[in-house]
């Protein structure tokens, strides 16, 4: 089953689920979907005999501060063990409304993974049985992996990429 077959079957079984798709740099198929469809899509990918993505390898969030209205991204890494195929399913969310339905009903392993991404990015997984911080202290007020939180003193300029002829992220200010 190659990427085109996956997409063709997906279009047949759940029309409109894949908003777009791409083959990533490492050859893994990325499917973009919406948070309204994510759980149904994950369930289809897991339970349908032809897809067979039985294993949730990991789940992580990403913050794109410049992507207005779609600042947060949640990536589900799925793995079909019998055929050894990996895919990623991505959803994008606005920073002001970071709600995603939980996947704990499909895989109990999503429990801590979701808690971790809540802890670091503030993604709220609705329906999660126990959405608390997991690695950081309970009374932390920020979501530290978001790009606006610097690692080091923000006034430092010696690591500014612009001084090295490149437009990087360190030293760049985010609102």
């Amino acid at each position: 089953m190659d990427s085109e077959q996956i997409l063709a079957q997906l279009a047949e079984k759940m029309p409109g689920a894949a908003i777009s798709s791409e083959i990533a740099h490492d050859g893994i198929l990325n499917i973009h979907t919406t948070r309204e469809q994510i759980i149904d899509l994950l369930q289809l990918l897991r339970d349908d005999a032809q897809f067979g993505f039985n294993f949730l390898t990991t789940l992580c969030a990403i913050h794109y501060p410049d992507n207005a209205g779609q600042e947060l991204c949640v990536v589900y890494h799925l793995h079909n063990w019998p055929q050894n195929i990996r895919i990623r399913v991505k959803i994008f969310l606005p920073k002001d409304d970071p709600h995603v339905p939980t996947a704990t009903g499909l895989w109990p392993t999503a429990n801590w993974m979701e808690r971790q991404e809540y802890d670091f990015f503030g993604v709220i997984f609705t329906g999660h049985p126990d959405l608390r911080r997991i690695l950081n202290v309970d009374d932390m007020e920020v979501f530290p992996m978001r790009k606006e939180y610097r690692l080091e003193d923000g006034t430092r300029t010696d690591k500014d990429d612009r001084f090295f002829g490149r437009d990087g992220h360190v030293g760049r200010s985010f609102e």
Binding site: A24, H25, D26, I28, N30, N54, F55, L56, T57, T58, C60, I62, H63, V75, H77, W81, N84, R86, R88, W107, P108, T109, N111, W112, M113, Q116, F120, R133, I134, L135, N136, V137, P144, M145, Y149, L151, E152, K159, D161, F164, G165, R166, G168, H169, V170
Partner: protein, 401 residues
Amino acid sequence: MQVKSYFSSLDSIEGELATLNLGPTHPATHGIFQNVLKMDGERIVSAEPTIGYIHRAFEKIAEHRPFYQVTPLTDRLNYCSSPINNMGWHMTVEKLIGCELPKRAEYMRVIIMELSRIADHLVCNTVIGVDTGALTGFTYMFQERERIYELFEEVCGSRLTTNIGRIGGMERDFTPTFHKKLKDFLKTFPARFEEFTGLLERNRIFMDRCIGAGPISAERAMAYGFTGPNLRAAGVDYDVRVMSPYSSYGDFDFIIPVGNQGDTYDRFIVRQEEIRQSLRIIHQAYDNIPEGEYHADVPDFYLPDKPDVYTKMEALIYHFKVVMAEVPVPIGEVWHSVEGGNGELGFYLISDGGRQPYRLHFRRPCFIFYQAYPEMIKGSMLSDAILTMSSMNVIAGELDA
């Protein structure tokens, strides 16, 4: 009026259920984990794990470090088998930049990675022994682990947090001392390991203690995202080395041992057999190690020879560019996973072409499987819970990142 003590739980039946803090620091937990247990006598009614005591924000730090400076962070994930983490990360970057390694470098990596797998499993299995009351095996096998660390020291200069290898290969070829020590290790280790085996594997007391302690079914293990020896003990033969071979693992002949009960004894036996299989892989890799370079020809990422840096302009420029990470990298996202000591250790790297990762996510097997712990110990005795934890080989560094 009866005053409730701090330790009595609110919903106890006339004080019959007690709340017990196991950890955060307790000698039997081998790390900083807290479990708030609800106990009915000596039986566990429920457990609530708290983690994060040694969280060091590696994912955040990694977003502010050039690729080669991320390697020391990976050391500190599963610090019982740092070289596997280091090389998993190097392979991730190599996948991003599209760098092919010479066979010799890949075989060298396999030897180092399998040595560290042996070291990792030795720690876990001897500690299971310690927790059942058998300290002797631990002291014997730590001498062997020490010899593995001497081998690492010979390759990279450090022992525990190794920072071994480079992006694009190994930093230097194996030295004559390494060859001597490795040959010596391969010759004498199996017999000493079998002594340890003889102490525990068919020991009636040990078996009675371990069989049936902390079992998990194959279905639950998969649902909980188990990988590595813990999953294989439950009877699923998933191994990244075989499923998606990296670093020439496809060249070697070895078996994936599996258990069928998923209990402490099966986890112990699976790790025992994996040590023997790792030895087989090392023998095959070492006997057939090809001639050639020990690193790829990637001057943009691999430091030039130090004497050249002092005498040649070209080498000096590259040295500067590598150290300052002034080399463009492709934009894109890469997933790479290796079979770590505890399971599938994955790196999800998103590069925006900058000098450091835009986002780096570690799939840490310990973090993922430790959440099954309350379910595995529910209804068991407190002493079995300790044993279950040590047989799962939860490493605090990998758990908390």
